[in-house]
């Protein structure tokens, strides 16, 4: 056996032996994800699964071992992912620290920052949120106004963020602040601070889905120390160079949101045929719906190939730097269409919003949630603008 085949069989055996049975059940909704953090609440099996995976570094399989990662190669990490999917093991940890801040710190952080911040992320001890958008700065993010004024040993932060995902549950925030009012892109700083700091408050926003995953976040004379110990700066990269970090990180965010396009490993048509009825040929008993389901199967399988290619080329340094924008656009648009189809297939039953049968309107709320996919992290229209300019090099208007 090759080394990779050995790795595959050993990994499968380890997962079989160590993954708690509850963690091999499909996730029903977002509340089944384990987010960790100082105030974490765990469902049965979650804590055990998180701890044993974290001990192996497999919450972040491809991060270096010294920062709490598994030190796996791209090929090994891919195999781990495949085996987890095959054995239906849940991801042990959902985390903006892993998906967003981590990659930014690995790229821009100092050695001291990496050693200080990354291991608690890998272990699920600190839950992070992202402070980007402001009421007046959505698509035009770089116009943000939240100010951070240098006060010697600390910055004084004042302003308001919006659409901060899970700000009310997060321990720390990575936040874009304005440190130079006379510049736009070159006056922004990428800062890390504790959400328990005096002067930070949050207010959940009720969405059309009835859920409140997003918050308004207010900063009122928040003192952000310049250092959290010897050489551990609260600023990532440099003061006034935060836009470079933000752009890099948006790439990760966009490819993360795009992952929605590949969600759902089973074919929608296969799932609904049983519940809908079949004709004498065994076909889904509604030709138009069947055709739409098959088109969706094609788009989902095609996008999954795209996601694989994107990951492979990204790791190999062969990917166009603006490609995450295209991934975000395509993935979110597919996901929205997929949920439209689920609603259509479910008919009047999935209109139920508050019933036991509908699990509290799970399907309908999930459908409405996807409408945010093509808005959050940069709208589809902004993504297409970026592709036009940075990839196709079309002239400016």
């Amino acid at each position: 056996m090759s080394d990779l085949e050995t790795f595959r069989s050993e990994t499968a055996a380890w997962l079989e032996a160590n993954c708690p049975p509850e963690m091999r059940q499909p996730m029903v909704d977002e509340s089944d994800a384990c987010w960790g953090g100082r105030n974490a609440t765990f469902k049965p099996g979650q804590k055990e699964w998180l701890d044993i995976m974290a001990a192996k570094g497999w919450t972040v399989p491809d991060w270096p071992k010294e920062y709490g990662g598994g030190g796996l190669s791209r090929a090994e990490a891919k195999i781990l992912g495949q085996e987890m999917a095959r054995l239906k093991c849940r991801s042990p940890l959902s985390s903006f620290g892993i998906w967003m801040l981590g990659p930014a710190l690995l790229h821009f952080g100092t050695e001291e920052q990496k050693k200080h911040f990354l291991p608690p992320i890998a272990r699920g001890e600190i839950r992070w949120c992202q402070g980007y958008s402001e009421p007046g700065s959505g698509s035009d993010l770089a116009s943000l106004q939240t100010s951070a004024v240098d006060q010697g040993d600390h910055f004084l932060v004042n302003g308001q963020k919006i659409w901060t995902s899970y700000a009310d549950k997060a321990d720390w925030i990575f936040c874009l602040t304005r440190t130079d009012k006379n510049e736009k892109h070159k006056g922004i700083t990428f800062m890390l601070f504790d959400m328990a700091s005096e002067g930070v408050s949050t207010k959940p926003i009720v969405l059309i889905s009835g859920q409140s995953a997003f918050c308004e976040t207010f900063f009122d004379d928040v003192k952000v120390p310049k250092e959290y110990g010897e050489g551990v700066s609260s600023v990532v990269y440099e003061v006034n160079k935060g836009w470079d970090v933000a752009k890099y990180l948006l790439g990760h965010e966009r490819s993360m949101i795009s992952g929605g396009g590949s969600e759902g490993s089973t074919s929608l048509g296969a799932k609904f045929a049983d519940q809908y009825g079949r004709d004498e040929m065994g076909r889904l008993d509604d030709p138009m719906l069947r055709a739409q389901m098959a088109e969706m199967d094609i788009d989902v399988l095609a996008f999954r190939a795209m996601a694989e290619r994107f990951g492979d080329t990204f790791k190999a340094g062969l990917c166009h730097p603006a490609q995450p924008n295209m991934m975000k656009y395509a993935g979110t648009e597919i996901n929205k269409r997929r949920h439209e189809l689920i609603m259509s297939a479910g008919g009047s039953e999935v209109l139920e919003w508050e019933s036991e049968a509908s699990n509290g309107g799970l399907t309908a709320r999930g459908w409405l949630r996807t409408k945010a996919n093509s808005i959050e992290g940069g709208t589809s229209e902004v993504m297409l603008n970026v592709v036009s300019k940075q990839i196709l090099h079309l002239p400016g208007a």
């Binding site: 296969a270 389901m293 098959a294 094609i298 399988l301 095609a302 190999a316 656009y329 395509a330 079309l394």
Partner: protein, 378 residues
């Protein structure tokens, strides 16, 4: 295996791109169209394909070929598509060779040397109606002496009028729609009782209607086993469909590139039309569709080369996705070119015509979408 070309495949890509651009660009297609060539392609160019090694890509090394796979065949086909190069490459060196690879050694020894040297051309006689329905083949092959007698008709036999040998799918037992009972034959193009009626297609390629009236073939013309032709046909179709998807991808990418160039150079209202967001968003959406199609086609080819049990599903996904993306590319291309997009002088219309023909070759988007539903069990 990462989902991008490895170093050797990239080198093959570079040489195929240079070759096609240098020897057989769109001007080459125009030349053969305008002189009303009866074959619709250049035999001299087919010789050059052989000299480049392209015709032996899917032929094993021990048989004088390169022993490469569907990824490499696709690399060449994408450039064929991008340049609208007329050639028998897809039918002969990809689908034809793959069918022969599923058969016995005598047939390979008979046909491979000519394919390797660029002398032999094969054609595929599968379709019997205006749409691709390989599960509905009704041509009859009845036992006669030491061999078989073929009766029936075939159509959309691309380059059927110029081929030396035809790969013919016929029914030796069972009835229409049965999985078993099909047999594939290697039929000499000059066989008695075979009549051909060639027509020029919208994309300037030549395709034949064929009538088989008691065409006699020997038992050694059988490719694979009698009544077990479904296995051979499957290999032929998988190779042909993934190859057609790659060529389609090249057509779509070529059309997109010339359209992007056009809107960067055309001015109206005192500004370049490529600066208008109305066009920018549409062509960026197209870029996204083409990128997804590219990943899908490569994935299907890799899965075929790995012998994956799910390869057939991905081949259908690839043919459908590349077909959709490229249809969008040529339609947007003509529209964004405006009036000149309607003229014969500009190339974009030729891309639209080639795409239309490729859509019908070995199953269109609807056909493969239906197959994907069937393979998923609904």
């Amino acid at each position: 295996m990462p989902l991008f070309l490895n170093e050797d495949q990239q080198m093959l890509h570079d040489s195929a791109a240079e070759f096609m651009k240098g020897e057989a660009p769109v001007a080459h297609l125009r030349e053969f169209r305008d002189k009303q060539c009866k074959d619709g392609f250049s035999h001299a160019l087919w010789k050059q394909f052989s000299e480049m090694g392209f015709t032996g890509i899917l032929i094993g090394e021990e048989e004088g070929g390169l022993g490469l796979g569907h990824v490499e065949a696709g690399v060449v086909l994408e450039e064929v598509g991008r340049n609208l190069t007329p050639s028998p490459f897809l039918t002969t060196a990809v689908a034809g060779v793959e069918a022969l690879n599923a058969g016995g050694k005598p047939l390979r020894e008979r046909y491979f040397p000519g394919i390797l040297s660029g002398d032999t051309v094969l054609a595929l006689a599968v379709d019997e109606g205006p749409k691709h329905r390989p599960d509905q083949i009704s041509m009859a092959a009845t036992r006669e002496g030491n061999g078989f007698k073929l009766d029936g008709k075939k159509q959309f036999v691309v380059q059927g009028g110029s081929a030396d040998m035809l790969i013919v799918a016929a029914r030796t037992s069972g009835s229409v729609g049965d999985d078993k009972g099909l047999t594939l034959f290697a039929v000499d193009a000059n066989a008695q009782g075979l009549s051909k009626d060639s027509a020029r297609l919208v994309d300037s390629a030549m395709a034949a209607h064929m009538q088989f009236d008691g065409v006699l073939v020997d038992a050694d013309a059988v490719i694979g086993e009698v009544d077990e032709g479904d296995a051979v046909l499957r290999r032929l179709l998988n190779a042909g469909r993934s190859g057609a998807a790659a060529e389609t991808l090249g057509v779509g990418a070529g059309a997109m590139d010339i359209t992007v160039d056009y809107i960067k150079g055309r001015s109206q209202f005192g500004t370049l039309i490529g600066s208008f967001q109305a066009l920018q968003h549409r062509i960026s959406h197209l870029y996204s569709e083409m990128e997804i199609a590219r990943a899908t086609v490569l994935k299907a080819q890799q899965m075929l080369d790995e012998g994956s049990s799910k390869a057939e599903m991905m081949v259908s996904v690839a043919k459908a996705k590349a077909g959709k993306a490229t249809a969008l590319s040529v339609k947007e291309g003509v529209q964004m070119h405006g009036g000149v997009g309607m003229t014969d002088e500009y190339d974009i219309g030729l891309y639209m015509k080639r795409d239309r023909a490729l859509q019908e070759f070995m199953g269109d988007v609807n056909y493969h979408t239906n197959l994907v539903a069937e393979m998923h069990g609904y």
